[in-house]
Symmetry: C2
Subunit: 332 residues, 2 copies
């Protein structure tokens, strides 16, 4: 087994976020599920977009945000995801490369446009996401870069990939390549509704298909269909080699074998927009794991990265996380 060239390779839906402020009444009028990620078609995307306030466009996508976080921490990250050869596709490719992430998936030259996620941020800083998958759902096993997967300590994939059969196939193929190369595979459950859609497969994956699991409280209780966090925790301890479970301002729990680490959330002066909090938490933890740091330090890196991103609009860090981590004494 050769020395890894990448700390982490992310595979996910390549999406441009379209962010606007909205009142809670807007969500009610538009029948938008608050705090969730809802898949929408082109017509519904047009309908919501027409009704929403002036917006800003920022590159997003869950695993892509995580990879940008790893690069910001000073790590080597790669990304595989599908855009189209249109203006938003160009924006996505520019931004992820400019952030220092290796990205070489060729854009589609036909089919639906680059994916966008219409994100409504309510006054309580909660984000409600409406995703038109567009070109991102064209991701297939043929888009995988075997060399990149084999070269990464960890291949990190979104549960969202299960929403389209070719992307789901790519998921299993990538996991297979990584494991054959002696590397680790990480999964984030992505969203409680996503867990609802693929509960059986995710349970099997957690038990035997992946090495590292990310989930928040809603996702993990949904996975095991239990009423409270602690019950879910007992299940995870049986099933999973390493899990990082997030609970918003209550912090997170990292489980590894018999070890249990309780990690505090990093204090935040003002929560502006929670978009990307989970993605950036994963960035901190994955970077730490890829560098063989102890689980508690990994968790603190995750808390620190999440705190940065919820302090401003948008799901990618504005301040270099490497500097913040160094100041906090977490990275030499």
């Amino acid at each position: 087994m050769s020395e890894p060239r990448l700390h982490v390779l992310g595979i996910g839906n390549a999406i441009v976020d379209v962010l606007a402020h909205a009142e809670d009444s807007f969500l009610v009028d538009q029948k938008i599920e608050k705090g969730a990620m809802t898949l929408i078609d082109a017509a519904r995307a047009q309908e919501i977009y027409s009704a929403m306030a002036p917006a800003i466009e920022i590159s997003g996508g869950s695993a892509a945000n995580t990879m940008v976080g790893i690069a910001s921490l000073g790590g080597k990250a790669g990304y595989t995801g599908k855009v189209r050869d249109d203006q938003l596709g160009e924006v996505f490719a520019h931004d992820i490369r400019a952030a220092g992430v290796t990205f070489s998936t060729p854009p589609a030259s036909d089919g639906p446009p680059t994916a966008r996620c219409l994100i409504l941020v309510t006054p309580d800083a909660q984000r409600s996401m409406n995703t038109f998958l567009g070109a991102s759902s064209g991701l297939a096993a043929t888009d995988l870069d075997r060399d990149l997967i084999e070269s990464a300590s960890i291949t990190f994939m979104e549960g969202y990939l299960f929403d389209r059969p070719p992307a789901r196939e790519a998921f299993f193929e990538a996991a297979n390549i990584a494991h054959k190369a002696g590397r680790q595979v990480a999964l984030t459950l992505s969203d409680p509704f996503c867990v609802d859609r693929y509960r059986a497969e995710f349970r099997r994956l957690v038990k035997e298909g992946v090495d590292i699991l990310f989930a928040n409280e809603q996702e993990i209780t949904s996975l095991y269909e239990v009423a409270d966090f602690d019950r879910a925790l007992q299940h995870v301890r049986q099933d999973c080699r390493l899990a990082a479970l997030t609970r918003s301002e209550k912090g997170s729990i990292i489980l590894r074998g018999d070890e249990v680490h309780v990690i505090d959330a990093e204090p935040v002066t003002k929560v502006v927009d929670t978009t990307g909090a989970g993605d950036l938490y994963a960035a901190g933890v994955l970077f730490g794991l890829a560098r063989n740091l102890d689980p508690a330090t990994c968790g603190r890196l995750g808390s620190l990265a999440a705190a940065e991103v919820i302090g401003h609009f948008g799901a990618r860090p504005e301040t270099p996380l490497q500097t913040l981590a160094a100041c906090a004494g977490l990275l030499a």
Copy 2:
């Protein structure tokens, strides 16, 4: 002369801003003129974009920003400008309409893509702009909406329109329609380099073609080719019926006939990004003038609007200016 339906109609280059942070060394390496607006072609746009940091996309365009400011103050604003029928064109149209501005210029169905302005914001909050005019330069007299011009108290146009002959023709045609309808015409000189390019025409316009002039210190000293602000001021007093001259943190001067008003800048806790400061100052002054407020109040509305927009990233207000103006006792 019928009662105006619009306070102000803006005509200008319809542009989507692509904003990123940059160090001063980046400007040096890329030979970018600091603080200025430089016109670039498609190849140069690609070159700068490839080199610049991850960015966010926000609708911009000088006169368009001003119209959004007027709508935010509670005024009735319209806009005429040209985009293409592409993704960024859709973004531009969505954002200006969602801000409450009447916008009905049909998008071009062929030719270059929607205009973009690559804006580098340095740590001192200065913005350096690199504009690829694209579809916006397709604006021509045939795009003018005569009814909209006749219905507006003031038609406000950018000096930037002079950069392409068909848009320059549209400028004169619009001024003609407005004046025939008994309305006023306002001009912003836009940029010192723009003044360099069209000095003779701008001088003639200031003397006899427009009713209201906006210029900053660099622009007005360039117009009259004088070394200091006060000398320029003496020229303007001879030439122009009403002029609003801005001087960044030194505030502004409003001249109307024999009247001279010295307006302080509004204090700002932290200047984040000066993009749009001049555009929003113009919004406050124009809205005040269209409502027949006295020049000093118009100036204070301008200072207030400019202060809001330099406190955050991007050239359009985030907080409703009507609320800020009411709290400051400027609007009933």
